[in-house]
């Protein structure tokens, strides 16, 4: 499953959004995902992608595609090969 598909599944199951609305260009705010729900979304992303998201969540996550790009960048940084190279990247319990 691609990053986009997994994210779409999270948004549809945990945030009760219609799959048809979840195009890459769709804006989170217009979908009714407010700032607190973005924080909740980050927890779901941590669980589903086995990532650790730090407190400094980017403020420019406007569209679904922005979130996909963000997840992919974290995956690249925190993949096992990268994890061995740097501190603080162990999977979060």
């Amino acid at each position: 499953m691609s990053t986009l598909e997994t994210l779409q599944e999270i948004l549809s199951c945990e945030f009760d959004l219609k799959p048809a609305e979840l195009s890459p260009e769709a804006k989170l705010a217009q979908l009714g995902v407010d700032s607190l729900e973005v924080l909740e979304l980050m927890f779901e992303i941590e669980d589903r992608f086995a990532l650790k998201i730090k407190d400094d969540i980017p403020t420019n996550l406007v569209t679904i595609d922005d979130v996909v790009q963000y997840i992919d960048s974290l995956l690249a940084q925190q993949s096992p090969a990268h994890a061995a190279a740097g501190p603080g990247l162990a999977p979060f319990k």
Binding site: C13, E14, F15, D16, L36, E37, L39, E40, F43, E46, K93
Partner: protein, 412 residues
């Protein structure tokens, strides 16, 4: 000083023993108790293994995103408020929203949210505290959600005076209607204290009933010599209050008049009640209803089944009712629905109103060992029917000392 009579036009409950007033009252008059051994892991809590639960799963009523924001206390509040509004057949969208208000009483507020936040922090050493923790736990959350649900933009207040919280909410709401400050009030109480942390805290006080091992449902024994304490319960109860003439004009069904509300405070100890304090609140309620004690045909007692309260309340009733005290039926329905803490006052006021409407007094159950210190007519033999009841008093007393008494009179 009073400008407007206060009509009770809507009643709604989400309570142990009932999701409607009719269901609740039928169960009460049949003497059925909702008190049971709590499901695991709550049943593992020493000193607090029993309670009265509302048969209710929020997932059947609220979407997943909404449930993240709603502690169980707010879910129960929204359900009870919705039922009160439906019963009143009132459309808040057709009212002047700033002439309406929401007053709610709660003691422990969003206890499950608080408990879960601390479990994650201290128990799991997690730094992932849900972002809605503050909004779920805050004391005024239930009132805020109810106000938003109906677009009510007048005063939205939360009263937290422990076990008298929602009696205060109803009384203060009635005063707003009486004075003309508001026209319609949605007032009630909500409580959801059946969480491990809250149960442990109450258990530590040793004020909870010892479970009856043979028959857990009989564990709460108000006014009985073998009473051993209160039983915690969850639930919510709401009423719609409005100006009498306005209710008549819109063709509303008036259940009763909320005619009296009295307050007093005990200041001798943080938990110990006094007969004088409780009697002062009852007299203040009678005074505000412009009634003598002999007008009262039924008392829904605070009757927690703690050793202290029941003897003190009996003594206070004697001070207020004098020689006639033995002629007044008095019952503690907590023997069946348990102690809803901050929601108890609203629920028991609704039970008192239902009693007036039906001419039936629900019993005090499990009073099988008379106590010389509690020697009044507690209706322990079972419900009494076919009565002509004109006025009822509902008593609510609290840790912290805030005594609140409400009087309902039959609508004519």
């Amino acid at each position: 000083m009073t400008k407007y009579r206060v009509a009770v036009t809507g009643l709604g409950v989400a309570a142990p023993l009932g999701h409607s007033v009719a269901e609740l009252f039928t169960n009460l008059t049949a003497g059925r108790s909702a008190i049971q051994v709590l499901p695991a892991p709550l049943s593992d809590v020493m000193h607090a293994r029993i309670g009265a639960v509302v048969e209710f799963d929020g997932r059947a009523h609220f979407s997943t995103p909404r449930l993240r924001m709603l502690d169980r206390v707010s879910q129960l509040a929204l359900m009870a408020a919705q039922r009160a509004v439906a019963d009143a057949r009132i459309d808040f969208a057709a009212q002047s929203p700033d002439r309406c208000g929401v007053f709610v009483g709660t003691g422990m507020a969003g206890a499950a949210t608080t408990d879960e936040g601390y479990r994650l922090l201290y128990g799991e050493q997690s730094d992932r505290i849900p972002p809605y923790t503050v909004l779920g736990a805050m004391t005024n959350a239930a009132a805020a959600w109810v106000g938003m649900e109906y677009g009510i933009t007048g005063p939205n207040l939360t009263y937290s005076t422990a076990c008298s919280s929602s009696a205060v909410a109803l009384g203060e709401a009635a005063r707003r209607v009486q004075s003309g400050e508001t026209e319609v009030m949605l007032a009630g109480g909500a409580e959801a204290p059946l969480t491990p942390g809250v149960l442990h805290a109450w258990g530590a006080m040793r004020t909870l009933a010892t479970p009856d091992e043979r028959e857990p449902s009989a564990s709460c024994r108000p006014f009985s010599r073998n009473r051993s304490g209160l039983v915690l319960a969850e639930g919510a109860a709401f009423v719609v209050l409005e100006q009498w003439q306005r209710a008549i004009a819109r063709g509303a069904c008036i259940h009763a008049e909320l005619s009296g509300y009295g307050l007093s405070t005990d200041v001798v100890h943080i938990t110990r009640p006094t007969p004088e304090g409780q009697a002062r609140a009852m007299r203040a309620a009678l005074l505000s209803a412009r009634r003598q004690a002999d007008a009262i045909d039924y008392v829904n007692a605070h009757g927690t089944a703690t050793l202290q309260n029941d003897a003190v309340e009996t003594s206070a009733l004697k001070q207020v009712f004098g020689a006639r005290v033995h002629e007044v039926p008095i019952s503690s329905t907590k023997s069946m629905h348990g102690h809803l803490l901050g929601a108890a006052g609203a629920l028991e006021f609704i039970i008192a109103v239902a009693s007036l409407e039906r001419g039936t007094v629900p019993p005090t159950m499990h009073l099988d060992a008379p106590d010389p210190a509690c020697d009044l007519d507690y209706v322990s033999e079972g419900a009494r029917t076919g009565l002509s009841l004109r006025a009822a008093m509902s008593n609510s007393f609290a840790f912290g000392g805030t005594n609140a008494v409400l009087i309902a009179e039959k609508a004519d």
